[in-house]
Symmetry: D2
């Protein structure tokens, strides 16, 4: 595949690094930036034959098979619409839109144009996440009850993130889009997100947008997706997921604790540790191959394979739209202070009927609530009478 | 000190084990249980001279200095009132009451009787917690923004916990009382808890009470206390605290990951691992000295020293009352689905004025939002104009 | 028990802190130091009624039940002999002697005087170690094959440690005494240590003694005890044990990674983290209750209970003697560069016959070497013919 | 690149999986196996156009650019010589030979033929290892004093590994080759390995070869490389490296603890966890992308890039030869029980002169041994007089 990059900032460089690593078949041929100096520097750094300050030119260039959007959030819609006009496949960084309205227009444009639309939700492609999903689908942890995803760090690296108008918000739109889609995958993409409760505040930084937020997303089957996002965390970039199921648990640490620890007095040398690390001496936690741990290689592999195989990628523009709808409800809830419904004009999953609970019988007359061996060796059964509701315990003394 | 134990169940045994370990000065002399067989077994197991099935007798016995209440929640109030009548010092297990009304009556009874009332909130006495509090008080992590405490396990060990009438609720009253008081300590006991948002559901067990809940407690200074409690967790007992401050972070794992790992095929032997462990083969995570890790020795040391020194313990009946008031708001919010105010008729801390934010100036005209070194070596400053509010970035290329 | 402390330095303070914590029954009443100022400061700090600069006076004082030796290694023997003369029970810090000769004389003196002699090997009393030993004794990990203990840090805190004449050596005598006794417990105290191979070097510090050493101790049953000791480690105090058994594995981290993590920018406050921590900003790893994690409370509980119950403690002067004999062989091997026999004139355990290996039969004609499921789902059996010795594999394809 | 695979077993499949993943440019076109059924199955599984039971045919096929040897150890030499005859570039799995004699003949054959010879030491290409090496080269941890590498698991997956004649030994040749080369990289490839001390035993399995060994490799500059290898470990595949430097520490866990934890009761589903995992219920430790964590993608990227760029890869046939020479000394030492010299007829690094120690002066008359802040706040300096050698301490009381 020959790819045009729109944008030349931090995330564009992360994408370029992944695409050009490990002798991959797919390469960037073109970069667009409003700023010619940046475009040229980027083209030089990655050895691209072309660069331009015209988005139209980048998209329509005959050497380009796919357009990769790495622009600030407020420029996604125009770029997608331009790709649709030019009938060029498009893959777009996260979040898809600043809100569900933008996302829906992008979704429709891509579908009407008949082009490929891939949603670059990298954290749904990390090796740990992909393997976790295999386990969940195989039933290893039973029915998923709760899926929490946390992304917190000391704040983003470019000015536009901090500008609510350009980004569409603060930590919720920037980081929450990851967390919401991670939880949604664990709970099941066919399960309808119903309503959202969210707390958000600007606790530290001199900005209008929120720099810290917690949200709960209730799904139709009673499962809860939880997101914890912040630009006020100290100590690096904290990316963790936790899933509770009826038969098991998954804990994933994607960045700060991956089995790699280093101590340095700083008297020898010190240098780059990992994205958003906040210290360069003492105990440090480097990350082996950052792009890989963050999911970029597997994401691009899926995207380009999907284009060739004429199938959908794991993460589509539709997914991006659902995420935006959930985040819209979160922003609303943070203001109204009540649970807000997720407005999905275009819902393509299962109809929202709550899963029936299956209670385990102990005998004809009782449900089994619990059994446990106590420290002193006694075994205890807790039972509930099916009709009277009375709760009793039976102890077997050693 | 000579102590009378009211109750002879799981927690009574945990308490007794701690009191009689490590050659301590303070000893149980008496145990009361409604059930004579249980009372006798307990007295035999711990070598106590007296046991009784009369609570009055236990409390008024001349050998008894302090009464230790280890009874089901619905029996706390009567026991405390009996101690007040008998003018015997009392220390009571958590939660203090099933609700703030009960707790307040107990608080007043103790204060009017002029006796000592200690609240046995053991998780606010774990060695890790005590050392964390030293750090927080010294300012190591700056101003606390968020304090999360999580306690989840597969469910409690006695029938009465599962009976809403006796316990006062489910996972919230059983586990949330710990989490709320942990967060409150980190944020500051003088800071008023203002309102609570809570989700609760009965996801798995055949009971009326909630077996899973998440709550957010908003404090007067804008800090958030978060609790995550569940009786549906699989894999053991998960006790973790996380604190975010403006200058640092604290992560405490109190039980499941403490630097002690064991693998066994199960072909040799297998036995007791740790409280609420759910497996006895494969990878296991034993806990060295469970009672110590859970705070019991330090708790009793503080209680008995406080009685001798005629000072307040770290955790008082008043703290128990505040916790109950917060949990009452949580239960209400779980039903009304809005933020519910914390009703504290008797507030003894600071008046609720929100802490002013201090924004850091970069120069005369700008606030500093952030500075960061990027992977390619560039350094970035994100600034906000003090008057126009415009956000800009300055890049220093290497 | 009323205790006289001989010595007033670092370890004396650690001991005193443990003894006077948690409302224990046993208390220091007397401290001896050559230096009056130190003796007085110590007595003031811990509220002792007596202090002295005369060792004789400390030992023979009528209020004193037990003498606790916290002196530099070269003063242990004289102090023990003085206790034997005065017929006062004695407990002595580690190592017992600077070499097996000294240790043996102390052992004999105590036995002849009929007094109690306790060896204060605290790391064989940590809660994690005690629980590990329960597992090993129960057979959870099968037959122990290898037991490694590692203690490394940036170097000790007092001058005499660095002086070979006073301490008897360097990191081996200072830290190896812990490691050797830990491994010996895991492998079995009745199993005879046969020979030692040791590498030692002075890699960093301007001293005569070794600041880094690795040793292997071969036991009569073929098990290997391994010690890794150093005064050149950077990053804090690294205390880890690893045990391999035929049916399982134990990993213990006693200090640097115990489920307690803190990040601080250092802009708020910073202070004491944990013994031998080397940084006060960035990511730190505090220890909840250091004395407890290092085994002091359980050690003193065992010692004083043993005296009362007229039984041997878990760690005796005889154990200290065996440890010294192993370390003597290690020092010799470091020079001769061959495996050196452990010289034990007084061996009280089993006679050294190597445990027979039990090979598992697969069928009449084959031993089973291994079975495994491969990533592609195939199952493999590796078998060895009992007579021909031929090794074959059988694959079951899915 | 178009690649011929010699061999179709476990490691061949691991290689093929890595080569054909992530849209890489380099592909297998041919597979050779003695067993036609295996050859065909392999070709089908990976979509290869050709397969053969003739090694000659595989090597000389005109479509083949590079030959990849994935054969048992006893067949490496013949395969390399055949590549040299056919003037085809060759990359060979580890260990290079069963001993240094074989390895040297392979090295010479490749050099005389003027073909590329790459040594597939994947664990020197893991992302964590590569990043660690950057830190070490930058000086972050100062001068390396000790580099330990550990690889232990319950035993290999194919019959020939267990047959000493075919493999050249047991755990030392199979796993020690990794560990030795990892340590050697950290210490510096130009530093001559001088002598080896090794313990080896057959502790568990019914085989002639060793199933457990520990070795120390002394380098010319005084640094120590340590290997710990075993086929008797229970609990999965334990791959850990630890490096001590004068200014820092590196700890790498490459497989069993990578920030990915799962608990399952086994009542839902259970399946493949990770290579050599020994349990499928309870707490499990899956690995995200196993091939990536084990270094395969970065290894092949380096190999094929090196061929194109006509440069040496990071790991060459010469490195394989040095590793074999070190392992030869280890095997000899395990028998003779003394330190055995590493025989390197062809040494291409620095001449073995021991690095001079640099002692830090505190003042004109003293070396600084250590400074430390004690728990009670006192600061201590340990000093050594430059001429008299006397060691003193200076305490600054708070």
């Amino acid at each position: 595949m020959k790819i045009a990059m729109l944008g030349s900032g931090f995330i564009a460089r992360f994408y370029a690094g992944s695409l050009h690593a490990q002798r991959r078949k797919d390469h960037l041929v073109m970069v667009y930036s409003r700023n010619e100096k940046n475009a040229k520097r980027f083209a030089d750094d990655y050895g691209l034959p072309f660069y331009t300050t015209s988005m139209e030119e980048a998209i329509s260039h005959p050497e380009v098979d796919v357009v990769l959007i790495s622009l600030p959030n407020n420029l996604h819609e125009a770029a997608v619409l331009a790709c649709a006009s030019a009938k060029k496949h498009v893959i777009c960084t996260k979040p898809l839109g600043r809100n569900a309205g933008e996302a829906k227009r992008m979704l429709l444009a891509v579908e009407e144009a008949g082009i490929f639309g891939g949603y670059l939700e990298d954290l749904c492609y990390t090796p740990k996440f992909l393997k976790s999903m295999e386990s969940v689908k195989r039933g290893d942890i039973g029915r998923v009850l709760w899926a929490k995803s946390r992304e917190t760090h000391p704040g983003p690296h470019s000015d536009w993130f901090w500008d609510k108008e350009k980004s569409g918000g603060g930590a919720i739109i920037d980081l929450g889009c990851h967390c919401v889609e991670i939880s949604r995958n664990f709970i099941g993409k066919n399960v309808k997100p119903m309503e959202v409760m969210c707390w958000a505040d600007t606790q530290v930084h001199p900005i209008e947008a929120e720099d810290h937020a917690i949200g709960l997303v209730k799904y139709a089957n009673g499962a809860i997706g939880q997101f914890e996002v912040s630009w006020t965390f100290r100590g690096g970039m904290d990316l963790r997921d936790e899933v509770m199921g009826t038969e098991g648990t998954i804990w994933v640490n994607s960045f700060l604790r991956t089995g790699f620890e280093m101590f340095t007095t700083g008297k020898g040398g010190e240098g780059y540790v990992a994205e958003k690390a906040e210290s360069t001496t003492g105990w440090l936690f480097p990350v082996g191959d950052e792009a890989h741990e963050l999911g970029y290689p597997h994401m691009f592999t899926d995207m380009f394979s999907a284009i060739e195989e004429k199938r959908e990628p794991l993460e589509t523009f539709y997914d991006g739209y659902v995420v935006n709808a959930i985040l819209d409800a979160a922003y609303k809830s943070a203001k109204t202070k009540v649970w807000e419904p997720v407005v999905l004009e275009d819902w393509r999953g299962d109809s929202p009927e709550r899963t029936k609970k299956n209670w385990k019988s102990y005998d004809e007359h009782h449900y089994l609530i619990k059994e446990e061996v106590l420290p002193n060796g006694d075994a205890k059964l807790i039972l509930k009478h099916k009709e009277t509701g009375e709760i009793i315990q039976r102890v077997r003394t050693v």
